[in-house]
Symmetry: C2
Subunit: 343 residues, 2 copies
């Protein structure tokens, strides 16, 4: 059973996994070979090579765990967290521990052997986003979970696995992740002072300034953040205020899919198909029976968004030691570059 | 001039560099070739190939910027921050900016073409540590700086450069880095409640438990932290309480050098010479004229230490998106493994 352990010197939870990459004496992560298409377990007609599906978008008349699907959700075979059991929160001298309870699902984004989400149709990406929404809303029913992170690792340098079949992952966690907590606290402070959402203000300033805008439509804006941590980092934000990706409503997902395809295609074409990570930042679950004043606050002050991080440079000791990131090209230049890539 | 920009959604300063890796159209960082010894500018007799030295430990009778040195400090040729000018703090709508003023020095740790600090003698490592101390105490005199980070990137995967000559770096910054602030805040909270240093308590518990101890001597303990973020992460802590590495006193540096050599050699031998980062976490400058009550607090509650992070796995989207780290092997197992490596 994996454990969640809290670093007492900094108040951060860490997952201590016991079931990943555990061949005795093999501690390394240096296998860059990718499997061939015929070995890919995520393709259509290979359904028996994966665990049984949790959910699938299926053609009419096809059977569970058989071919004929468009998007398919399966449990991770190497889960960071385990679905069974309770949290069993406990102390150990100075230290805090709980069982690594959570959910870890894999969303296979296409039945075909396509690697990059940029190469899916906007319609297919919309189906993927709707599947995210459906699974997140289903995981919310499990009272043990406070948060679901939806993310994608594309390419070897991103932490993606050897198999190059387009997929994303959902992790439901029993604690709110520290990065999201920091965003919530900062957004709340800003709202308390200004009575406005900091993200809404940022979107307004960016759309007026234009220099960091990569792409814009009626409902979304894609920009390189003013204080980018990573070169070519891009955020996609909905222009309409809302704290929760999975509650933001159906028509938006089509527009988001079109914007995602555009931005990911610009990154693929302009930067020679780099590895990237893709993350949805959304509010934690706000269930009835919780502190309703707190939930109301989050709905007013937080603003969901997507962060896309191309993996072009390595993170060095300076960044790791200080929390200071170094972005080697000003975001105004990377935005201009991406704006001018035609796709 | 590089800029420090603050991400308003999370309150984190980012360095936006304008002078590193800036060949037009070249955004990538994929050159894994290492230079040959004859091309190394850091070896003895190549002194004219580097900027003029800031300081050197020299044999009697040798000349500045000539051969005959043991440790040599030079300015970085690709500095993250620039020594000239003032901070010029300013706002830009929603955003905060200041000039990227700071110091960036390279400490060449040996005149010979040796790559890994593990292969230096304990005496040589002691000279390096004393050089760190001397330079940090000198940089403290510049009132613009709040902090100096001393760190090392060893090997390509660590963010180290192509040249494999043993060196470390010092960066003086005009703001206290967020990671150090988090440690200071957490340590203060613990001290306020318990009237004890959290690190001292941790050292006591670890030395009693023994399961996470990698090596121990009269003055230092090396351990894999209970909530390790990275597989085989090792911290070295002084048993005697003190908040400031550069004020911790001369006899300690010899013992620390011996401990460092031991731990780095175990990592090199046991893990097949991996890349690693090495960071000294120490208190910010506490100058006269500052808030003296605050300084007294830091001296009581903070505890300097060294963090060593072997780079065995890639950091994936999940970690980047949440601040949650996943450690794939329990630290009790990695400590046992390293304890049993003979060097």
């Amino acid at each position: 059973m994996p454990e969640l352990r809290k670093d007492p010197t900094i108040g951060r939870w860490v997952i201590i996994s016991t079931e990943r990459a555990r061949r005795p004496g093999v501690f390394f992560d240096i296998d860059e070979n990718t499997e061939e298409e015929q070995d890919c377990p995520f393709c259509e007609h290979k359904e028996t090579q994966t665990p049984a599906e949790i959910y699938a978008v299926r053609n009419h008349g096809t059977h569970v765990n058989g071919p004929g699907w468009k998007v398919r959700v399966i449990p991770s075979i190497k889960p960071f967290l385990r679905i069974e059991g309770n949290l069993n929160r406990r102390g150990y001298g100075l230290y805090d521990v709980m069982n690594g309870v959570g959910a870890h699902e894999v969303i296979v984004e296409t039945p075909q052997h396509i690697a990059n989400m940029a190469d899916l149709s906007a319609h297919q990406i919309e189906l993927v986003l709707q599947t995210h929404v459906l699974r997140i809303n289903d995981l919310e029913k499990d009272q043990r979970f406070k948060y679901v992170l939806a993310y994608k690792n594309y390419g070897y340098l991103s932490g993606g696995g050897r198999v190059r079949h387009c997929r994303s992952q959902l992790i439901a966690t029993p604690v709110t992740p520290v990065r999201v907590k920091e965003e919530l606290v900062t957004a709340k402070k800003y709202f308390d002072f200004h009575d406005r959402c900091i993200y809404c203000d940022m979107i307004q300033q960016e759309c007026e300034t234009e220099s960091r805008v990569v792409a814009e439509c009626e409902h979304f804006v894609a920009l390189t953040p003013f204080a980018s941590r990573f070169t070519f980092e891009v955020w996609i934000l909905p222009k309409k205020h809302g704290c929760d990706f999975a509650k933001s409503g159906a028509p938006g997902y089509h527009n988001l899919a079109v914007m995602l395809k555009k931005v990911l295609s610009k990154i693929k074409t302009g930067l020679n198909d780099p590895a990237y990570n893709f993350l949805i930042h959304s509010a934690p679950f706000r269930r009835n029976g919780g502190n309703s004043h707190q939930w109301k606050t989050i709905e007013e002050d937080y603003h969901w968004h997507i962060e896309i991080i191309p993996r072009l440079t390595r993170v060095a000791g300076f960044e790791k030691g200080t929390g200071f990131y170094i972005c080697s090209i000003p975001p105004e230049e990377t935005a201009k570059f991406l704006r001018e890539v035609t796709v």
